[in-house]
């Protein structure tokens, strides 16, 4: 009966979804606000002259844009065109997602750096729309003009009143460190060992940061919001930031923008990365000619003027800056326009993604741990080696085919014998009745959970790089289990992450159950007033979406801006840099997760407590039992049947609680607080898409939890209700 309804639903939906296919030209972007408005205006102008083309704009959250494009385009569900930063051009070209731009006659229309960013292997893969780079913002209430050398910045520190930072930027990110890195004469890649992260020039750039940090020119923990706050409160003279910072500066704060200063040691101007925003045409588009027309128009001068004037973009089209006086006379956009001559296009090959993590490790070591520049370079190069270690060697799949074949035959044989037994015992009818009731649930989870999981398991036997999969057999597993590329007792090794995960699960469950049970016992006491109010308030952490509360918790633990340090200071204690050492970062993660998780246990316990018949307590009273005895002999035994399944599920959920670790500590310091699932995520998405390695990680997590479930179900049977 129910299965028939379910099937009907399935059939109906298949019909509905067919409506989604259409013949219009679609363009995906991540713009919002003024930039989105400018894009819409440009498209309207295009439509006025090319009325026959129907254009749909779709704004996708930035966070999922790249993964959505890589999944959707090869399956034919991607857009005809999309706008994205140039950094993934290499990946996308290698996986064949992009249509090269055939007509290159108009290259000098754009700033050269923006065009070269979009080139890969000699072909132009997209048209540049805008560029972004860092420049120097200065607060005119604090200083009248920006210094032109790094020595000038150091001198500034003696002139400014106490409590005002001379220089402020997110120094723990290589994107922000890059100006000094290139200004010191260092280069990336070029065949250097460790990608150039340990060259003498690179060390000189770390030395500059070390100096700034120890002279108190920079604070040690800097987040984007700290930069904004201090600048707006006149507590920072200079800020290194990009054009997006314009929207953050509070009204009434007088500021100017200047090109970045000269690095005094080399006499070379600080050279930030240039990011080009390009418009790309999908290789799978069915209307490439129309798409090409739209792309050319949007990159052209007419649209560039609109995007510059309305959207305040730093447009890549040279002519637009000549035509529009609004653009050329804008002092702020003008400063970025000047900076563009001194930029390094960010490398668009997949190798670039090997740079971010090692450099972050090095910069954080200096900022938070006060490490020397040499030690920092050493750490960066170690991490670089771990991430770029050789993938496992290709293996012949024949032996594995045989094993899989044998396994399948064995499975089929077992299934067949089982079915024969069922028929022989005359239980076939019962099987059918059972299936009628449980079939839909089994079918739905089977198709949408088991099948993808088995496919993912299959992935763990492959090594992935740039869209190519190589069969490596058990190579990934061998590499994980032998902690290849890093020490067994170091973060990033499977065993270290496993130990952290076990500790994490244990501490969380103890807190969840302890707090939940304690509150439930109090709430359950007789004659308590305001019970309903407390119940609703205490359930609150469960009700608010956890992706926002996790971010709030991260903010509460911030070194300078967090309210928790604010409390500590009120109490006369010293503020703590929460994410700079393992234990404090771990405490931050655990506090967040304990806060999120206790309501579930509280509700569970409350339900169980209310179901305990009160005559049992009366009987205990008659026997003269005291409070502790009553708890031990009445409450606890009757609580267990309800609590044990909840704890079992809770353990599994906590073991895989990705959101909190990822959002709160983000693995800080140095990936030490990462648990297994967040490590798997990093291997899959942050470290050049080592999908096979990540899948092997997931498979190991699965095996661990499977072992645990089998053990714990045995254990739980003891508590099953009679």
């Amino acid at each position: 009966m129910l299965s028939r309804i379910f099937l009907l639903c399935l059939v109906l939906t298949t019909g509905f979804s067919a409506l989604a296919e259409s013949s219009e030209l679609t363009l995906w972007h991540s713009y919002r606000g003024a930039e989105e408005e400018a894009l819409q205006k440009s498209v309207d102008v295009f439509n006025a002259s090319h009325g026959e083309v129907d254009i749909t704009l779709l704004s996708i959250p930035y966070e999922v844009m790249a993964s959505k494009l890589t999944t959707a385009i090869p399956r034919g569900h991607g857009p005809d065109l999309f706008i994205f930063a140039h950094e993934r051009v290499g990946d996308w070209t290698e996986s064949g997602l992009l249509e090269p731009i055939a007509d290159r006659t108009s290259d000098d229309t754009f700033f050269e750096a923006t065009v070269s960013s979009l080139e890969y292997d000699g072909s132009l893969m997209g048209l540049p729309l805008a560029f972004k780079s860092l420049a120097l913002f200065y607060n005119k209430d604090v200083i009248s003009s920006a210094p032109d050398t790094t020595d000038g910045i150091i001198r500034l520190s003696q002139l400014l009143p106490k409590g005002v930072y001379p220089l402020l930027y997110q120094a723990d990110s290589f994107y922000f460190h890059a100006p000094w890195f290139f200004g010191a004469g260092a280069r990336l890649f070029d065949g250097q060992p460790s990608g150039g992260l340990q060259s003498p020039e690179a060390i000189a750039s770390y030395e500059l940061l070390y100096r700034w940090r120890s002279d108190g020119i920079l604070p040690s923990e800097i987040s984007a919001s700290l930069v904004t706050n201090l600048f707006n409160q006149n507590q920072a003279a200079l800020v290194v930031n990009g054009p997006w910072f314009l929207g953050e500066i509070a009204e009434g704060v007088p500021f100017g923008v200047a090109p970045l200063p000269i690095v005094s040691a080399t006499g070379k101007r600080a050279t930030p990365f240039l990011t080009a925003e390009g418009i790309f045409i999908s290789a799978f588009s069915k209307r490439k000619n129309d798409a090409m027309q739209l792309a050319t128009f949007l990159a052209g001068e007419e649209s560039a003027v609109i995007r510059g004037e309305v959207g305040r973009q730093c447009v890549a089209n040279r002519k637009a800056w000549e035509i529009s006086t609004t653009l050329s006379e804008d002092p702020i956009l003008g400063a970025f326009r000047m900076q563009v001559e001194n930029t390094v296009p960010m490398n668009n090959s997949p190798e670039m993604r090997n740079i971010w993590e090692p450099t972050t490790v090095a910069l954080k070591k200096i900022l938070m741990g006060g490490a020397s520049s040499g030690d920092a370079a050493e750490a960066a190069s170690r991490r670089y080696a771990a991430i770029t270690r050789e993938p496992p060697a290709q293996t012949s799949p024949t032996a594995y085919f045989v094993i899989v074949g044998v396994l399948f035959t064995a499975l089929a044989l077992i299934a067949f014998r089982w079915l024969r037994n069922v028929t022989r015992n005359g239980e076939f009818g019962e099987l059918l009745t059972g299936l009628r009731w449980v079939g839909p649930a089994v079918l739905a989870t089977g198709v949408l959970v088991f099948v993808p999981f088995i496919a993912a398991l299959g992935l763990s036997f492959f090594s992935h790089s740039n869209g190519d999969y190589t069969f490596v057999g058990l190579g990934n597993f061998r590499s994980i289990v032998s902690a290849e590329g890093f020490g067994v007792f170091q973060p990033l090794s499977f065993y270290f992450a496993l130990a952290v995960t076990v500790l994490w699960t244990l501490v969380n469950i103890i807190l969840h159950v302890g707090i939940g049970l304690g509150l439930a016992l109090i709430l359950n006491s007789k004659g308590l007033r305001l019970k309903a109010m407390y119940r609703v308030l205490l359930i609150l952490p469960w009700a608010v979406p956890n992706y926002i509360t996790a971010l709030i918790w991260k903010g509460l633990f911030h070194r300078q801006l967090g309210a928790i340090n604010g409390f500590l200071e009120l109490l006369g204690m010293e503020s703590v840099s929460w994410f700079s050492s393992f234990w404090t970062a771990f405490v931050a993660n655990v506090s967040t997760n304990a806060w999120l998780g206790f309501p579930f246990m509280m509700v569970t316990c409350l339900g169980a407590l209310q179901a305990i018949p009160s005559d049992l307590y009366d009987a205990a009273d008659l026997d003269g039992a005291n409070g502790v005895q009553k708890f031990a002999h009445v409450t606890w035994p009757l609580l267990m049947p309800a609590l044990v399944p909840a704890i079992m599920l809770g353990i599994v959920w906590t073991f895989n609680q990705f959101n909190i670790v990822y959002l709160v500590s983000g693995g800080e310091p140095d990936n030490a607080t990462d648990i297994l699932i967040s490590e798997a995520y990093r291997w899959a998405f942050a470290r050049r898409e080592q999908y096979g390695y990540a899948a092997a990680y997931s498979a190991l997590i699965f095996i661990l939890l499977l072992g645990w479930s089998i053990f714990s179900t045995r254990f739980a049977k003891r508590f099953e209700t009679r």
């Binding site: 930035y62 999922v64 929207g247 953050e248 089994v442 959970v449 707090i515 409390f567």
Partner: protein, 277 residues
């Protein structure tokens, strides 16, 4: 002294716990209401200046799809998820609890196993399957995916509850010649109401707050759900905290309303079944 202590200690503990529970949520509110959306080191979570501009900018966003439409989409998807998973789980829970058939144990274990699959690497295979079923870019496909996350938990909870509901009533109905369907719909379902309330809430929340799957599977602004729309305020370089927080508050209102409406059943339903009997 002793009695006074006994009277106030529980309230003291509960008040501290409630404060800790509310505090971060109060910060979300503060960020949503202050003109400068962001954190500061002042531990006081009460905003000094109040503005509704962040809430207003929520509603003024988007050309083709208004906040209202996306709100309705969320209601639709979460509602469908709840309806389908309750329907399917009730039936499965009844089957697992009342019928003895070959393969029952394996089925139960299999459902439990789905809870331990790490989801990180399952996205691409899932996408391909939905594509082949023609369920991409549709609310139904999205709701089905959410259902598969909710069904195992719901089935286990409901089965645990039904296990402890006495069978005498059903046996009496069998004597009267009632069919299984009648027994299920007229006797068992009404008895399981508290447990159904819990599982309904659970499945609703699963669908209501999810964002990565929704953003990946949907290709049309008119189909986007609320979390997808909200996530747009988190940009590559900067986050519009004020609007993001305002959106989070609007998003959590229906959940809170549901919590409030179901809270009596909630407390009884989650586990009472497991202990009764």
């Amino acid at each position: 002294m002793n009695t006074l202590w006994r009277k106030f200690l529980p309230h003291f503990i509960l008040m501290i716990a409630s404060t800790v529970a509310i505090y971060p949520v109060a910060w979300v509110l503060k960020i949503a209401l202050s003109p400068v959306g962001g954190m500061d080191s002042d531990p006081n979570p009460i905003p000094s200046e109040v503005t509704l501009s962040h809430f207003l900018s929520l509603t003024s966003q988007g050309e083709g799809a208004s906040f209202g439409i996306q709100f309705m989409n969320s209601i639709l998807v979460a509602g469908a998820t709840t309806a389908i998973s309750i329907l399917v789980s009730c039936s499965a829970a009844y089957g697992f609890s009342r019928l003895r058939f070959p393969g029952r144990e394996v089925g139960l274990m299999g459902l439990m196993l789905t809870q331990i699959f790490p989801g990180v690497v399952m996205m691409v295979p899932l996408y391909i399957i939905l594509d082949n079923l023609g369920l991409l870019n549709s609310h139904v496909g999205l709701a089905l995916v959410y259902c598969t996350t909710a069904i195992p938990f719901c089935t286990w909870t409901l089965k645990g509850y039904l296990d402890t509901v006495p069978r005498e009533l059903e046996e009496a109905a069998v004597m009267d010649g009632a069919s299984r369907w009648v027994i299920f719909s007229q006797i068992v379902l009404p008895l399981a109401k508290p447990a159904i309330a819990v599982t309904a809430l659970f499945s609703f929340m699963t669908a209501w707050n999810e964002f990565v799957l929704a953003a990946t599977l949907l290709n049309d602004e008119r189909l986007f759900t609320l979390p997808v729309a909200l996530q747009r305020y988190v940009g590559e370089y900067q986050t519009d905290w004020g609007t993001f927080a305002a959106g989070a508050i609007v998003t959590s209102l229906p959940v809170m309303a549901l919590f409030y409406a179901l809270q009596k059943n909630l407390v009884g339903g989650l586990t009472a079944g497991a202990v009764k009997g």
